[in-house]
Point group: C2
Chain length 215, copies 2
DNA sequence: AGCATAATTTTCCTATAGGAAAAAAGTCAA
DNA sequence: TTGACTTTTTTCCTATAGGAAAATTATGCT
């Protein structure tokens, strides 16, 4: 079988529905990384402990490396393996930045709280910062705990906050007190004083998000 | 060769210096994931399109899957491939939380700023939240821009802040104004008014940190 | 226990991974 | 252009991946 045909056969599409790459596209990516660093096949082969021919074949999508060899190669190219599986487009755009003026943020309001989404015009960011006003003053205002995979940070700016975390005693937070916790645990905020409490909340969505999801 | 010996041979250590797993440990992990979801080998085989025998062998470290098959298996187990390469210990401990009272935070002080590290007793968290007081009032107080891979969020709590980002015009931020940006860009903060500015900063370290590093 | 059924492991076999070395294809200086 | 050298591709060959199905080992069930 002529080489050219194998290539064509592998090259039907550069990726699939999910975030993964077929071996042909993966090869292109690996070659690109190698070129960027100005390394030759022989150099990478030496660094990774693989045969030169092997590296060449992988880069052209003629071969699909087994798990352990794959790790070796990634090591030789000095790339973190998980990066190879993160498609380019899903990462935060480098050099991007966004300013959100007080009061100009995307507004989200209910009886229980007001949330201003900050930096909302940036997508794929790791953190979701919000400015919030907690109108709820009683846990019974909520029907259930909030929970979402990831981590959450909160600081009280004004007022007194009562943080309820499922299975724990409520915690009182005053001005400039803060809390950091696993947001996978059920949680709720209520204002403790007479006035509504102003807070700043930053969520980080876990990369392991799919872990606990059951479809 | 008896099966038992192959096992022993593969089981010399459960991981290596870097964050990667050998095929034996990887297998254990995969099996664990499968069990957690209550799936049988046959089910996973069907989901992933691999042969039952293959899945069995992989789980016992008798076989090392090629790249494409590996993706299929991960798909069948409904796990993100990159998660498999993130060692257990490096993730944020579930159910953990930490409260930092105002003024009780880990203090870090220089002529130019004061930083209180919040939630400092938690390790491996995705975000690093800080409360800061910017004493610097002139860009020339700094010898160079600060830059670190990842993303940064900042909100002004008190005073007026001037944010300098390398290659851009300085930005003025008033109380409750905020900014979100790629912290890989050089950046600096100086107080714009007479008084020192109080801010809250949250950094998220990029998982793609090694991307730009050249050794 | 003994039988039935489900889950896992082994066997057996072919296709592919992957190394060593030869061949081919650049690259560049004289 | 020719020759010396570097980089990449092909060939050839053995060890392993990986599927189908048989064999074995749970896990009930009456």
């Amino acid at each position: 079988m002529p080489i050219a045909e194998q290539k064509k056969q592998a090259a039907n599409g550069s990726g699939n529905e999910s975030g993964t790459l077929d071996r042909y596209s993966l090869g292109e990516r690996l070659r690109q990384i190698r070129k960027e660093n100005g390394w030759t096949l022989v150099e990478v082969a030496k660094r990774s402990g693989l045969a030169t021919s092997t590296v060449s074949k992988v880069e052209r999508g003629l071969m699909s490396l087994a798990y352990d060899r794959f790790m070796q190669l990634a090591d030789g190219l000095e790339v973190d393996v998980s990066e190879l599986f993160t498609p380019e487009g899903e990462s935060f755009a480098p050099e991007s930045f966004a300013i959100t003026r007080a009061g100009e943020a995307g507004h989200h309001e209910t009886d229980l709280y007001v949330y201003d989404m900050l930096g909302a015009d940036l997508s794929h960011k790791q953190m979701v910062p919000m400015f919030g006003i907690i109108r709820a003053h009683d846990v019974r205002d909520f029907s259930e705990f909030v929970k979402h995979p990831g981590e959450e940070f909160l600081m009280v700016l004004e007022g007194e906050l009562e943080v309820h975390i499922e299975g724990r005693e409520p915690v009182q937070l005053g001005v400039h007190d803060s809390i950091y916790f696993d947001s996978g645990m059920g949680h709720l905020y209520v204002s403790a004083g007479k006035k509504d409490t102003k807070i700043i909340v930053v969520c980080a969505h876990s990369s392991a998000a799919r872990n606990n999801v059951q479809t």
